[in-house]
């Protein structure tokens, strides 16, 4: 899921953290990680699996709209 890191470089507003799920079981439980990759944006919008860039951007914009 490289889009997240590239978005961080593109905007000072965006911060991205890659979390190794098995090493952080508590975080994974808290965010109900059942499959990977799982992306959670602003703790509001989430999706599983790799998605194309426009869809990823859509999720980012949705997260900002609802925050």
């Amino acid at each position: 899921m490289r889009l997240a890191q590239h978005m961080s470089v593109a905007s000072d507003r965006v911060r991205s953290t890659v979390i190794e799920a098995t090493e952080f079981p508590e975080l994974s439980r808290a965010y109900r990680v059942m499959g990977v990759p799982k992306v959670v944006i602003n703790d509001r919008v989430q999706f599983e699996g790799a998605v194309p860039e426009p869809d990823f951007l859509g999720a980012v914009l949705q997260a900002v709209e609802t925050s």
Binding site: S11, R15, T17, V18, V39, V40, I41, V60
Partner: protein, 142 residues
């Protein structure tokens, strides 16, 4: 024993031909928490840094260097901050092996150039963001 095989090293060296400037990898460890993973993480980062003279490494302790940790927004170990000419907000929690290893290498390169590989539409939308965005990507090594 090295984590990266000779083949891995050669592949990363090839990738690092695209490095466009200095990168600092700030590693957070804590001996009382996940000591073995922190050690493995430090070793991996040092092995990666040896493959380019543009990469420097700083190892910090989450408990002792808590002000730095707070400034970076890091509250877990092992952690890696990938900094280019400035801190772009790229973090890795856990030892980035397997698929995440290539992600780390890619992050180093994009942080070094400051040039994200995104479409013009995406870049324009990101430039117009009016609020902060926190993206968490949960992954596994395989």
């Amino acid at each position: 024993m090295p984590i990266l095989s000779a083949r891995d090293q050669a592949a990363v060296r090839k990738e690092f031909e695209r490095i466009g400037g200095p990168v600092k990898l700030v590693v957070f460890s804590q001996s009382l928490e996940a000591a073995e993973l922190c050690q493995q993480n430090e070793q991996l980062v040092r092995e990666v840094a040896e493959l380019s003279d543009q990469i420097t490494v700083e190892v910090l302790n989450l408990a002792i260097d808590h002000e730095r940790a707070e400034a970076y927004g890091v509250d877990q170990v092992p952690a890696i901050v990938v900094e280019g000419s400035r801190d772009y907000g790229i973090r890795f929690y856990g030892v980035p092996l397997g698929y995440e290893f290539s992600n780390l290498i890619d992050s180093i390169i994009v942080a070094s150039t400051g040039e994200p590989a995104l479409s013009e539409d995406t870049l324009a939308s990101l430039r117009a963001l009016a609020a902060d965005v926190d993206i968490k990507v949960f992954s596994t090594p395989t």
